[in-house]
Amino acid sequence: MDCCYIGIDLGSTTTKAVFLDENENILGRGITNSRSNYELACQVAREEAEINARFELLKRKLGGDPRVASQLDSVMDNLACQYALAQHLKQLEALRNEVTSIVKNWIHHKEDTDEYLEAQETIFDFLVLQAYQDFLPGAEVQSDFFRDLATSLYLKQADLVTKERQLSFERLVGVFDAAIIRVENKSFALFYREYLDFARDRVVEMEMFKDLKGNICDAVLDITKKEFNILNTVGTGYGRLTLPFAKEQIRSEILCHGLGAHFMFPDTKTVLDIGGQDTKAIQVDGSGIVTSFQMNDRCAAGCGRYLGYIADEMNMGVHQLGPLAMTSKKAVKINSTCTVFAGAELRERLAYGEKQEDILAGLHRAIILRAMSLLARSGGVSSEFTFTGGVARNEAAIAALKKLIDENYGEIKINISSDSIFTGAVGAALFAKRDPKGVMADLEISKLKATNRAARPVAEQIA
C-alpha cells in the first residue's frame, strides 16, 4: 500500500495532477485539457497521474531486475508508447461511433447519408492506420491531447476526401465538431488495465524483448494490482471554486505556484508563471511564501493561449512552435496586442511571403515583453529566478526571456524545471501534506501588495 498526497491544478487550458509520496518525491504526473467540464478534467488528470505513478513504480521494479536493467529505458519507452496508442485507438473508436450516429440521425439532407457515412469510414480507417505509425518511441507528437491530434488529421483528410467525392467539407467538419465534444466528455483512463495488457502484449512480441517476456509480464501484473492510499488532496487553479473539494482543501494558485517553485528550487526569489490565460509575477521569501505579486487583467494577450491560437492557425502542435521559432535569423516585429488579431496578422504576413520562423520569433518576443512589464511592477527580478507554467516548456520563450532579463537585470540565475507545467499542482500536493487542516487556506493574499483587482472574472478574485 503506497501512501500518497495529491495536488490538482485546474487551469483554464489544462488540468494538472501530481502524486507525491511520503518523502515528497513526485511519483506521478497527469495532464489533460480542461474542456468545459471541470469535474471530469480533475478526474481525468488524476487518473492520468495515477497511471503515470504506476509506470514510475514499474520502472523502479524493472530497474531492480538485473536481466532488464540494461534495456530498461527502451522497454519503458515502448510500453508507454503502446499504452498511449491503446488509449488513442479506444478514443478513435468512440469518435467513429459518435460521428456515425450523428450522420444517421440527420434531419436535413437525409438522401446523402450513405455517401457521408462512407466518407467518414474512409477518414477513420486512415486515422487508425496513422495512429499505429505515430505512436512509436521517438516519434514527434503534435500534441499530448486526443482532441488536437484527431482534429488536425481529420481536417486534412476531410479536405482530401471531400474534394475527391464532391462532398461538402463544411458538413463533415460540423459533424466532427459535435462528435469530438461528446468524446471529450468521457473519461477513458478507466480502461487502464486493458491498455496495459495491450501494451504488454505488443512489447513482448517485439524481437528485442523476446527473452524478457516473463520478467515484463510479471512486473506489469504486479503494478496493475497496486492500490494507492490517498491521505489528502488539495486543489488550486483558475477553476478551483468549482472544484468538488471542501474549503480547507483549496488553496490560491499564487500560493501554490510560490511553494511549488520553492520546492523545485529552494533559493527562488522571483517566480514568473505563464499559464493558459494568466501571467503571474510572484516574489517569494525564503520559505516559499508569497510576499507580492502581479497578474495580467482585462486581456489574455501574452499568455499561453496566445501560442495555442497561433499553433491552431498554423495547423501545428504547440510543442512545435518553439523549435521552429529558434531557427529564425531575424524576428519580425508584431504589431497586434490582441491574441485573435495576432492570429490574423500571422495569416496576412504568411500570405505576403514572410517566413514562418521569423513571425514566430516575433510572437515569442511579444509574449515575454508583456511578462517583463508585470515582473517590473511586482518588484523586479532577483536571483534566483524560476520560470514556470506551460510556456516554460517552450525553448523560444526561454531564449527571449533570458535575453530580456540579461538586458534589464544583468546576471541572474534562471531556473527551469522539466516539471515546470506541474508547479502549481506540486505546490498543492505539498499543501496537502504539510497543511492538512487548511490553515493556509485562510491566508488573505489581498493584504499583500496586489493592486490589480479590477475587471477579473469572479472566479479569479483571490479569496
Binding site: S36, Y238, Q277, M314, C338
Partner: protein, 286 residues
C-alpha cells in the same frame, strides 16, 4: 451585356460574386455568389478556386470578365484588375441590396465598422472597433465550436433564449473561459449564445450612436445571416432613447462587400473604356 467579378477577401472567408450589366453599365444584376471559409487552407488557393468555380458554373471564360475587383485583404489577389477600399465597397453593396439604407453595420470576423452613407453610397462618417477582438465574429465562432453548435444554427438557437447570460465584454480569450464556466454552471446553450449576441450588439449600438445613425440600418458582413444577433441589435437600439433606427437584414448581405466591389469595378471599366475611345491607343495598361 458584360460581367464583372467582385472578390471580398475577409479574415476568415472569401466572398465571390458575379454581376451582370447592360452594355451601357446600367441594370446591374447579381447572378452568382460563392462563400468559402479558409479553414487554415492557403488563402491564395482558396481565392483562386472560388474564382474558377464561379466562372465554370456560369460557363464563362477569363476573357468574358470585363473587370475583376477585390476588396478587404484583396491586395494579395494577383489576377485582380483593381482594388477598392472596403468601406466604399460595403456602402455601394448596401445601396444595391436596399436603396433606402442610410447606415451600414459591417460585422466581420475581427473588426466591426459602422458607417453613415447617403443615397449615392458616399461614406459621410464612420467608426470602427479598435485593437481588440472581444465581440467579433471570430469570437462567436470559437464559442459555437466550443458548444458544439454549427455556426449556421447559432441564430435560430439563440432566439429560444429565455434568460440570456451576459459575458464579460473584455477579452475574447477570457470570455471563452467565461463561457466554459457557464457550461459547467449548466446554463443553457441558448442563453449563452444570446448573452454573447447582446454583448456584441452593445458595442455596435454604441458605434451607431457615435455616428448619429438614423433610419434604415443594414447589417452586412459574416454576421448578417445570424437572426439572433440582428434581433439583439434591434432590441438594444430600441432601448436607446437617443437612437431612432430600423435594423434591416437582406438576403445576400454577407456579400455586400463583394457586390460593391463588382459594381465599382464595372464603373471603372466604363471609365477606362471611355478614356480608351477618346484617345489614340497608346498601348498602356490601365
Amino acid at each position: 451585356m458584360y460581367y464583372t467579378v467582385g472578390i471580398d477577401v475577409g479574415c476568415d472567408s472569401v466572398k465571390t460574386v458575379v454581376m451582370q450589366f447592360d452594355s451601357d453599365g446600367s441594370g446591374e444584376k447579381l447572378i452568382l455568389d460563392d462563400l468559402n471559409k479558409f479553414r487554415k487552407r492557403d488563402l491564395k488557393k482558396v481565392v483562386n478556386e472560388s474564382y474558377e468555380r464561379v466562372l465554370a458554373l456560369k460557363k464563362l471564360r477569363h476573357d468574358d470578365i470585363a473587370y475583376v475587383a477585390t476588396t478587404g485583404e484583396g491586395e494579395m489577389v494577383d489576377f485582380r484588375r483593381g482594388h477598392f477600399y472596403s468601406m466604399t465597397a460595403h456602402a455601394r453593396g448596401a445601396i444595391f441590396l436596399n436603396p433606402a439604407v442610410r447606415s451600414v453595420v459591417d460585422c466581420g470576423a475581427l473588426h466591426s465598422k459602422v458607417m453613415l452613407i447617403d443615397e449615392r453610397s458616399k461614406v459621410l462618417s464612420y467608426r470602427m472597433t479598435s485593437q481588440c477582438a472581444s465581440g467579433s465574429g471570430q469570437f462567436l465562432e470559437n464559442i459555437a465550436r466550443y458548444l458544439g453548435v454549427a455556426i449556421d444554427d447559432v441564430g435560430e438557437l439563440s432566439l429560444q433564449a429565455n434568460n440570456p447570460e451576459t459575458v464579460s465584454g473584455i477579452c475574447a480569450v477570457l470570455a471563452e473561459t467565461d463561457v466554459i464556466n457557464m457550461v459547467s454552471r449548466q446554463i443553457s446553450t441558448q442563453n449563452i449564445l444570446q448573452g454573447i449576441h447582446l454583448s456584441m450588439a452593445a458595442r455596435l449600438v454604441n458605434l451607431l450612436r457615435m455616428v448619429n445613425a438614423e433610419g434604415q440600418v443594414l447589417i452586412t458582413g459574416g454576421l448578417a445571416k445570424n437572426i439572433g444577433f440582428v434581433s439583439a441589435i434591434q432590441e438594444l437600439s430600441d432601448q436607446d432613447k437617443r437612437l431612432n433606427v430600423n435594423i434591416v437584414s437582406e438576403e445576400g448581405a454577407i456579400f455586400a462587400g463583394a457586390i460593391g466591389a463588382a459594381i465599382w469595378g464595372s464603373f471603372r471599366h466604363n471609365v477606362l473604356l471611355a478614356k480608351a475611345n477618346s484617345r489614340p491607343v497608346c498601348g498602356s495598361v490601365c
